[in-house]
């Protein structure tokens, strides 16, 4: 019997998923760039294993070494060191962790609070709705940075302060979105049938309505991560965010500001890191929004 050629011996460039993947890349070049940048961010999560040096420990003998491509630079510190002798590259890698952690916690908690309040507001309507929506309006009209500054003036910069301020600012959008969608879903038949079958209000809200709202929430969250990182780094830069000792990007830029004439690298690289990360996140968020839920274009 003649040996049948196995269909598995396709050359690599003809394998279906590779072909499809390449088509996607050509169609959405920006999106692919975003994925690439993101892939660079993931290693940042494994910072302790990836970073060449300890981000907190500085050797004063090494202070202000320039990046490797200038005179005086060494391979030991590829992006140079800051005024306390700490390696910039390591601090950037750890900084990614810090920024992402703070942002994700803030969005998660803010999102939960906002969603729950939005569900309650949309489902029960009436007075509750009115009260919660007032709170949302007031919350959305509070000036961001000022609030953070006042809080910091009282209790000093810390993780807790940043996360609290971010949560206070973020929850309102989720509440508004959830409420809007709840109002629409509430009218559908399957809700009425659920009530007839004896489902409690809580059950209906969380098991019937919420799963349908979830998609939009995910898109909103993705769109917001970039914004939150910008906000957090701005606050840290002003000294109203994370404490000065932490390897946070905003703090690093602030540190390097006075040295801009002599040691430009101390400020440049962390700022570049912020920009690239937010850019990638925005691109991904836009793509997600366009493909999952175009209704959200105006958010």
């Amino acid at each position: 019997m003649p040996q049948l050629t196995s269909t598995r011996t396709l050359p690599w460039y003809a394998i279906p998923w590779v072909v499809d993947g390449w088509r996607q890349v050509k169609r959405y070049p920006l999106f692919s760039l975003a994925i690439l940048i993101f892939v660079l961010v993931i290693p940042a999560m494994f910072a302790p294993w990836v970073a060449p040096h300890d981000p907190y420990l500085g050797f004063l003998s090494n202070r202000l070494t320039p990046p490797v491509w200038q005179d005086g630079g060494t391979m030991e510190h590829i992006l140079g060191t800051d005024k306390l002798g700490r390696d910039i590259l390591s601090r950037i890698i750890y900084g990614a962790r810090v920024s992402l952690t703070v942002s994700l916690i803030a969005i998660f908690v803010g999102g939960i609070i906002g969603t729950v309040l939005g569900l309650i507001s949309g489902y029960f309507g009436g007075k509750t709705d009115a009260v919660i929506m007032r709170l949302v309006d007031i919350s959305l009209s509070l000036p961001t940075i000022l609030l953070a500054l006042v809080l910091v003036a009282a209790v000093g910069p810390s993780f807790g302060v940043v996360i609290t301020v971010l949560i206070v600012l973020l929850w309102a959008r989720y509440a508004r979105l959830t409420r809007g969608e709840t109002l629409a879903i509430k009218e559908l038949d399957f809700i009425a049938r659920g009530r007839v079958a004896g489902a409690s209000h809580t059950r209906i809200m969380f098991k019937y309505i919420f799963p349908n709202v979830f998609n939009s929430l995910v898109v909103l969250a993705t769109l917001q991560v970039g914004y939150v990182i910008l906000l957090e780094s701005t606050l840290s830069f002003l000294g109203a965010g994370l404490p000065r000792a932490e390897p946070a990007w905003g703090v690093m830029v602030a540190d390097g500001r006075e040295l801009i004439v002599t040691a430009w690298w101390v400020s440049m690289f962390p700022g570049l890191a912020i920009m690239l990360t937010v850019l990638a996140l925005n691109l991904i968020g836009d793509w997600l929004r366009d493909h999952l839920d175009p209704k959200l274009r105006n958010l």
């Binding site: 007032r134 309006d137 007031i138 009209s141 509070l142 000036p143 961001t144 940075i145 000022l146 609030l147 500054l149 006042v150 809080l151 910091v152 003036a153 009282a154 209790v155 970039g226 910008l230 780094s233 701005t234 830069f237 002003l238 000294g239 109203a240 905003g250 830029v253 602030a254 390097g256 500001r257 801009i260 004439v261 430009w264 400020s267 440049m268 700022g271 570049l272 912020i274 920009m275 937010v278 850019l279 925005n282 691109l283």
Partner: protein, 306 residues
Amino acid sequence: MQRFIAVRVLQSLMAILVMSVIVFGLARISGNPIDVMLPIEAEQEDYDRLTKYWGLDKPLHEQYVVFVTKAIQGDFGQSLKYQGQSAMALVMERLPATLELAGFALLISAIIAVPIGVLAAVAKDTGWDAAAKVVALLGQSLPVFWLGIVLMWIFAVWLGWLPSSGRGGLQHLILPAITLGWFQVAAIMRLVRSSMLEVLDSEFVKLARIKGIPEWKVVWKHCLRNAGIAPLTFFAIIAGVLLTGTVVTETVFTWPGLGLLVVDAVRSRDFQVVQAVVIIFAFIFILCNLLVDVLYAYIDPRIRYQ
């Protein structure tokens, strides 16, 4: 219409009230200001005397009422850092600088964003459009403070064309204004572009072209007037946002305005000044939001009847 305005004004007042409570509460949380003011050897009676003088022995809600009454009259007490100067006087001294910066930034962002937005709409899917999209994307992703530092480094340190800090003539104003207005350029441009795209499809545009009106007039005179409604209301929002954006920009360029004042005050725990500045900012911010909503309702009648 009246009812709508009334409701919005009420909301704004509540927002200001909430801000004042927050500011007041936080100022009291961080510990007793008397401890900061007195030297260690002070006697108990000095302590009591000062407490009475500053009114800190009264219950909290009474203190709040005192705070609000004084605030309405514009009296925020004396600055702790700049001994002897009233907080309000400091604020008033710095306000013109901030307004100058914000106004110029608004002007620059309008001058840059509107033409690019129009061109992007007219020459859709061409080089202009692509450039516009890139600018929009960058505008949203760049951290303002980093942009300021980069600009400062390029133009002040490397090229040496412009000064890097302080207030003075036009050359001092350019870099901070660009930094401040950058974010808005992206947003305005997007808005102008989408409004123009909608308007360019209208019937009256076709009629105008048939009539023989030169294309540039059709675009810049007729279309822009109609498309300008949405961006116009956006300008009012921006005015509020710019004021808070000045905090960062002034810090980067050491521009002697309200933003720098409040950051310094926070660092030196100078509460009276922080309170004064924050309340003023919040007031302007909320006022701008209010104006925007009213303007929008005036232009688009559907909103009034919600």
